[in-house]
Symmetry: C2
Subunit: 311 residues, 2 copies
Amino acid sequence: MLTPTDVLISEVGPRDGLQSVKATMATADKFRWIDALAASGLREIEVCSFVPAHLMPQMADAAEVVRHALSRPGVTVAALVPNLRGAEAALRAGAHKLTIPVSASHAHSLANVRKTPDEMVEVVRAVARLRDALAPGVQIEAGISTAFGCTLQGVVPEDEVIRLSVACVAAGADESGLSDTTGMANPAQTRRLFQRLQAELGHQAGAAHMHNTRGLGLANCLAAYDVGVRIFDASLGGLGGCPHAPGASGNVVSEDLVFMFEAMGVRTGVDLEKLIAARACLMAGLPGEPLYGMTPEAGLPLGWKQGAAPV
Amino acid sequence: MLTPTDVLISEVGPRDGLQSVKATMATADKFRWIDALAASGLREIEVCSFVPAHLMPQMADAAEVVRHALSRPGVTVAALVPNLRGAEAALRAGAHKLTIPVSASHAHSLANVRKTPDEMVEVVRAVARLRDALAPGVQIEAGISTAFGCTLQGVVPEDEVIRLSVACVAAGADESGLSDTTGMANPAQTRRLFQRLQAELGHQAGAAHMHNTRGLGLANCLAAYDVGVRIFDASLGGLGGCPHAPGASGNVVSEDLVFMFEAMGVRTGVDLEKLIAARACLMAGLPGEPLYGMTPEAGLPLGWKQGAAPV
């Protein structure tokens, strides 16, 4: 499973996807879906959020899901934690990686976590201290959300995005990534922001988490790849969005993203046929939920051989 | 309408789109749709194919459609012509531009036009002679189809694509463009092929005609733009495909392509709100036909101002 790869696809469907739909997937279905994702060769899966069950019943089984995912060899098990309490639960469950959402939009930050962006930097600091005490090997990623624009406040200043990214690393995060929570990013902006992020943070510049709200998801991932980004969040079937950013639908589709990279000769380590097969588990666990994805619909091209393309 | 622009979006829906659907749009509906497309600022529209009506009844009114489109100021009226007879009819109707499909796949060429690729180069030569005699100002574009792969024969050698592109220009075409008829292109291949095309043909290197079959349409357009391509075919609502290439569905969606470029600060000359409004005419003329397009579904972002983005 741990063959050399050129990019890391971080699957966020079980977290970002499931928290965006109304239905609650049964725990056993989550297990089967995560197993299928892991079997496709994905090496990082964000499996849940540690949030109060009365606010998000879809995530009530978070600890159980983490413990199950830990049984999959070679998979980094990530969990989203919006606060210190969630972080403690995630660390105690054994998660390998914590993602803390830090919104660059003041309005979105208040709507999403009822804290200002700078108050969230203090959350990062507190979580990093707890991590140091409880489980020093665990990675912390700050996910700078609404980094490309906000459906509540409109433009988000790029200086503010970069300032928060740097502040989170200074507060103890191992890396800061940028999220197009609202699907407002374009390729020129994506290149510009990730170049600035890399200039400030070097190897601590994190993932590109792009959405396909306006169809630009893959173009933005290509733009990020062009300037050196090598970690990409994506969601099987494009499931996901943000409940507190109206109209923010649709993560980048994992299947289409893997197809793009593999067709280019960029190795993902993910077996595309097995990844497409994992849709059956997702659909079984969320009957009737519409999925995105052009590659699964069209099928693989005649003569497709994964990894055969020249770089 | 003729403001300075950075790229030319060539709308192919009334030709590529309508020949791919079973229904026949009424002539009056075609007029209204073309008027709405022209009103959005599109400066080139491929309005029909000149093909025998018994083979493609959707195109029986081709001459009438060309004559109507000629009444729209500032619009280059293009027509697809697969042979000399079609070219003569298009020239007599007054088309400004003829597109001749030349497939780089031997198998697809025979299935599509019952001629080999080299026989199609001779068609280009004959059409160019006719053009010189009848209407010397008319442009001829060779559209090299299946340039990125073929659903019938699989791999299409890049050398063959370039050889045919050059042969068509030598035979009298003003430019040769490359078509991803089957939706098999990837961004690395797109860059490589257009760079070779430009090296061989210079300013006679033509449009990128990409499909969105596997979701990579915009990423491939971005890749082509990056290496200097400035003419892009696209189709309102992504309508289109190729009846002789199984599974080849979905042109690049004009609305999403214009959104991408305008968001990047690349001027298209197309008013995105008016372009989205043109979908109503398309839907009225083809009731029940499914359309693609993420931007129309999501709406324009908060604070969107066309042309306001930095380059």
